[in-house]
């Protein structure tokens, strides 16, 4: 039997006992329901994006604005890529909490680091491509109507704003990923 270095410590929780396996199973079922609900919300948001861009594509095509319609259709494809990546990356991965604490902690940090480091490729990249396509289509349209100078005058502010927003999101993710990398290095340095 273990000797407790601080006797007060041992006096706490003497009456504790393990939960009944039936209770645990219902807890696991509740957790699965939460995951399913979260996935459902993601799919609903995706469906909303598809519906919105679908309506815009249809409206532009009806008005004979085929360049703009194509840009919106391209946006739908970009959103589909992001949703596919979300589903692939967010899928349930079996955890093995019986690993040593350091191995477990390193694995958690590594997974989060890779997810954050990949954000520009799988999230920001496709969305930026879709938005660039829409802005390009708008520029072409405005240039036809009033010339390039007029088109630039009307679009540079939203383009700059969008670029700044994307740069900010990229920076946030990069900073968080860098912090995690530092923690991983600290774990690796422990002996």
């Amino acid at each position: 039997m273990s000797q407790f270095p601080i006797p007060d410590w041992a006096s706490d929780s003497d009456e504790a006992h393990f939960s009944d396996p039936a209770t645990i199973k219902s807890r696991a079922a509740k957790f699965e329901r939460t995951i399913k609900r979260r996935n459902l919300i993601e799919y609903a948001a995706g469906a909303l994006c598809f519906a919105g861009f679908g309506a815009l594509t249809w409206k532009a095509a009806q008005e004979g604005e085929f360049v703009i319609a194509n840009a919106y259709a391209f946006c739908i494809a970009c959103v589909a890529v992001v949703l596919w990546q979300l589903a692939a990356r967010g899928s349930y991965e079996p955890q093995r909490p019986e690993e040593s604490c350091l191995a477990h902690l390193r694995e958690q940090y590594q997974r989060q680091y890779e997810a954050l480091r990949g954000v520009p490729q799988w999230y920001l990249g496709p969305i930026a491509l879709g938005i660039t396509a829409v802005y390009t289509a708008m520029m072409i349209k405005f240039t036809e109507v009033g010339g390039l100078a007029k088109a630039l005058e009307g679009t540079w502010v939203p383009i700059a704003g969008t670029a700044a927003f994307f740069a900010f999101v990229w920076w946030l993710n990069w900073t968080a990923a860098r912090g995690l990398k530092k923690r991983i290095e600290q774990i690796d340095a422990l002996d």
Binding site: S2, F4, I6, E15, H17, S19, A28, S100, C101
Partner: protein
């Protein structure tokens, strides 16, 4: 009874109190601590279907429990700024509700200290408080016995400096 259920029963008989103490130490809120305790039970139940006897049941149970607790702490939005053992000069003061809840000041202070420590310092301290040996702590945490020894030495020094007889007398006065 299945092997999994039998192992779970054995683990419950031997470690229920330790795991309850672990949950209460890392989570100050009593309801959340109870929730964490049940999360640990659930993770343990699932993991025991994979138990391969390459480690002892004790090592397995502690690893699962500490890893679930670490995930709980990492997921928390609010937690105290963490200070490594080598940088702690004084024990942090416990929050009032903890001392008012009938726990001794020493116990409340030790639990508060654990919440301030980063991983794996807090895990080493918790296992040391459970009376585990350096070797056992090294197996659970993955640290070398030498690294565990250094941390235990720091913990003892910190506690000895604080819990001197005169200090305890003045606290009870």
């Amino acid at each position: 009874m299945s092997k999994q259920a039998d192992l779970y029963r054995q683990a419950g008989e031997q470690f229920a109190a330790s795991l309850a103490r672990l949950a209460r130490a890392v989570e100050r809120d009593a309801e959340k601590a109870l929730d964490l305790e049940q999360d640990i039970h659930a993770a343990l139940w699932s993991s025991l279907s994979r138990f391969d006897e390459r480690s002892s049941l004790k090592t397995w149970v502690y690893r699962v429990a500490h890893n679930v607790a670490a995930d709980h702490v990492n997921a928390a939005t609010k937690r105290p700024k963490q200070v490594p053992l080598e940088d702690i000069g004084e024990l942090p003061s416990p929050a009032d509700p903890e001392t008012q809840a009938g726990r001794s000041i020493i116990l409340a202070q030790v639990q508060t200290l654990i919440r301030y420590l980063p991983f794996p310092d807090s895990q080493v301290m918790l296992l040391w408080l459970e009376g585990e040996s350096t070797k056992a702590i090294a197996e659970v945490t993955g640290l070398s016995p030498g690294a565990v020894g250094v941390r235990i030495h720091r913990i003892k020094k910190l506690l000895a400096a604080h819990f001197t007889p005169s200090n305890n007398e003045s606290e009870h006065a």
